[in-house]
Amino acid sequence: MTTFSDVEFVVRTIAQTAVDNEKYFGDLDSVVGDGDFGYSLARGFEIVLKDWDSYDRTDVSTFLSKIAIAITGRIGGTSGPIWGTAFLRAAATVKGHSEVSGDDVVPMLRAAIAGIMARGGAELGEKTLLDALSPVADTIEESIAAGDSSERIVSAAAATARRAADATTPMVARRGRAAYTGERSIGSPDAGAVAVAVILEALASRWGNRTA
């Protein structure tokens, strides 16, 4: 069900969305952060797009590792280690698999989440992108268990991500630069969580037309 080309489609959509939303993501980060989140992601992922054909595609794990190295090498700030770790952990989950399937998706996502937590020390509810990623993993798990089509799974995940991102608005930031402003972080959503929602919405809207 999940093929190599689905993995490529997901990675490419993440990269394209990051590049397309440079300004928007930056503006979100400037409300209580330092405004560089959009710039950082875009600089990393534009390299992914530029060198797209060059990444070793021996297997999914190798491919995702190469992507991880490419973005950690270029993305600075908090996002470099965070996003790089996420890709590395997802890659490690399917190491040695010649094929990946829909059943690998949730373990990969959970591994990415655990990696981010280990790297940055954040827990759920501290107003970071984890607050969008974690509910998304739950939704996908449920949707797969319910036997949903991949279209339905992705669109359910996108809806959850958006709701979860919105739900970060009333939270007090306890991680990242936004935490320095304490109570003043209340009232605007977390930039990372919104980015997760925007990416999943992009995946959902393009899923039907993905090249197999």
């Binding site: 710039y39 600089r43 908090t78 280690p81 940055g120 930031a173």
Partner: protein, 331 residues
């Protein structure tokens, strides 16, 4: 946005190229890893000192590279910690048989990049230690756990460890000195205006015509609270009070006093602030033995300033007084 900038993405590399061209005998720019290093680094008779951090704080840290200060600075893009690969490569480039000390201002992104880079360097057999600087008292009572931020006080840590390493101290000794200086250094800043990162092209936050932001960080992060503009002496008191009370600094102490400009405030105003701070300290029985007025750690073009105090003893005072020569210079 009105700035001296071409392509915002080339802002940092073009600045570094200019810095190296202005100091051909002493500084080398390594474009692959976006770093500035001394032409004579690494030297096996001294611990190599490296500071990494986001850019936008100039003269910190690329203009603090030179004899008696840093051996290399490894800056990321504006306000973004450097990618860990750059830190890793920098560590290898300045690897000395006496070891490498990485100085890091305490922020999540920087911590992670340096932790990862240190792990990779250690695996390669490079002797490397990391020292986190966290002098900002503005954020002490907050709810997150990464702890205080590192701000302008990092100048004193750099100066002291730079002098110690120049004098031949070994890595443990250099670390001891750096931790000691950090432990007696306290800073707090305020912004009169927001700053404009070249890639964003507009101010990071909005401040009213009569508003200031107290406890601001050096990345344009808003501070802890807003207030109305007040007379200069009160601005100074607003910062000096929490700084003095934090360590606390007490009657009989000898201190270094720094009034650091955040980038857009003229030095005339900084000296006015200095005068008041000096007199306020004298009234508390605190003696200013060394004074620092100017830009040391900025936030791009932000108007505003920070106040830093360092409690001196003979050891620290001697290290601060040792000669040094850096890219940021007058003559």
């Amino acid at each position: 946005m009105k700035k001296i900038v071409n392509d915002p993405q080339r802002f940092v590399p073009e600045m570094l190229e200019g810095l190296a061209l202005a100091n051909p005998d002493t500084l080398r720019y390594v474009p692959e890893y976006n770093l500035i290093m001394r032409t004579d680094a690494p030297r096996d008779d001294k611990v190599s000192i490296v500071q990494g951090s986001g850019s936008g704080h100039e003269p910190a840290h690329v203009m603090a590279v030179g004899k008696g200060m840093l051996d290399a600075a490894c800056p990321g893009d504006v306000f973004a910690a450097p990618p860990m690969d750059y830190v890793y490569e920098t560590t290898k480039l300045v690897n000395s048989s006496k070891g490498v000390l990485l100085l890091v201002n305490n922020y999540t992104g920087d911590r992670m990049a340096f932790d990862m880079a240190q792990e990779m360097s250690l695996a390669d057999g490079v002797t490397v230690k990391t020292l986190f600087i966290d002098d900002d008292v503005a954020v002490q009572d907050s709810t997150w756990t990464v702890g205080r931020r590192g701000v302008a006080g990092n100048f004193f840590v750099i100066k002291a460890v730079g002098a110690a390493s120049e004098a031949g101290a070994d890595l443990d000794e250099v670390v001891r000195i750096g931790e000691k200086v950090n432990s007696v250094t306290r800073t707090m800043g305020l912004a009169l205006t927001a700053c404009t990162p070249p890639a964003k092209g507009s101010p990071l936050f909005e401040l009213g015509d009569d508003e200031i932001e107290i406890g601001v960080g050096i990345h344009g992060e808003p501070g802890r609270r807003r207030a109305k503009i007040m007379p200069g002496n009160e601005l100074v008191d607003t910062l000096l009070e929490p700084v003095v009370n934090d360590l606390p600094f007490e009657s009989g102490d000898r201190v270094a006093l720094m009034i650091n400009g955040l980038g857009g405030t003229p030095i005339s105003e900084l000296y006015l602030a200095y005068g008041h701070a000096h007199k306020q300290l004298a009234e508390r029985g605190i003696t200013v033995a060394r004074s620092y007025v100017g830009e040391y750690c900025t936030s791009l073009d932000m108007a505003g300033f920070s106040v830093t105090l360092v409690r001196l003893d003979d050891e620290i005072e001697g290290l601060l007084a040792a000669p040094a020569e850096i890219g940021m210079r007058i003559f």
